[in-house]
């Protein structure tokens, strides 16, 4: 009976932690496949854009390198990767996302591929206000085997004044995004997309990607 209570407590403890960290899901992610694959380099494919904003793909794609590289991975140069696809007649993200992983590995030599889908990008108007929201999903795939190593989702808005996203790297980005929105009305979604990207692709967060080999935190988790 006492054992049972302990077991229950052990199960509930991580839930309490997750609640402390705001919006993360309670169930811990199963990293078995991720840890076994030990990817060193990540090929981020041009994001699939399911929002009505045509610029969304470029805006997010330009900001994926920072969080993944700071997590400790080699990230292939996104503009050059995009160019290689274009030169080979692959101009839409939907087509690119359908390419066989082995083919991607052959050309780019990357260990893993990051498949991003943008679900929301831009202003949502309410009666009194307009709020910029950017939301996206990501899937990390082992390019050798095609196995899914990790999936995640994240979103950000320019209306997070009271909650700076927990401080640190992402907190600073949120503050910068909100600040920039005040100063600029022309491209207000782009800095918010940067925060979404950081939340989606940074290591060291609940259910986020694991640290890569170039990080001092590698294999400590």
């Amino acid at each position: 009976m006492i054992k049972r209570i302990f077991k229950l407590a052990a199960c509930l403890a991580p839930m309490l932690l997750a609640v402390g960290c705001a919006t993360q899901k309670a169930t811990p992610y199963d990293y078995t496949a991720f840890k076994a694959a030990q990817p060193r380099s990540i090929l981020v494919l041009p994001p699939l854009n399911n929002s009505p904003e045509v610029n969304a793909g470029n805006s997010v794609y330009a900001q994926v390198t920072y969080p993944l590289a700071e997590a400790g991975y080699y990230v292939l140069p996104v503009a050059l990767v995009n160019e290689t696809f274009k030169q080979n007649g692959m101009t839409t993200s939907a087509d690119i996302h359908m390419l066989p992983p082995a083919k991607l590995k052959e050309i780019f030599g990357a260990d893993a591929g990051m498949y991003i889908t943008i679900t929301r990008y831009g202003s949502t108007y309410t009666v009194l206000d307009s709020v910029v929201v950017v939301a996206a999903e990501a899937k990390l795939v082992d390019l050798k085997t095609g196995a899914v190593l990790w999936t995640g989702t994240a979103s950000a808005s320019n209306n997070e004044g009271g909650n700076n996203g927990g401080g640190g790297l992402i907190g600073a980005l949120v503050a910068a995004a909100v600040k920039q929105v005040i100063n600029s009305t022309t491209d207000q979604s782009h800095p918010v997309a940067g925060v979404t990207s950081a939340r989606l692709l940074s290591a060291g967060y609940n259910n986020g990607i694991l640290y890569g080999p170039r990080s001092a935190n590698y294999s400590k988790q």
């Binding site: 330009a62 920072y66 590289a69 080699y74 140069p77 503009a79 050059l80 995009n82 780019f108 030599g109």
Partner: protein
Amino acid sequence: MHITLIKRAGLVLALAGSAFLTGCASPPKTLYGWEGYQPQVYQHFKGESTDQQIAEMEKSLQTISARGASVPPGFHAHLGMLYSLTGKSDQMVAQFEDEKKLFPESAAYMDFLLSKVSKGEKL
């Protein structure tokens, strides 16, 4: 006398405040010096002037090395691509080689691109 006391108290308060702020807002230490890499990738996607992008990237490279920071993954490869767009093939090759030297993980892709160029194909 009175004023100095008040000033002192003010100074102490200011120091305490700044210590508090530092505790909260000190920028986290990053693996790389980023400078303009990501903004320039965005400029490239938006089709802005390539010469302008090259100038910004070269300036970033100087700042990164002046600060003793590490150049981020993809930086040299991106700059190499910009050089190739303006017909500066030698500089492109040098940048691709730098990318390989800093990040051996890039070797397969850089070699793929270099072999395309040596056959006279576009990047």
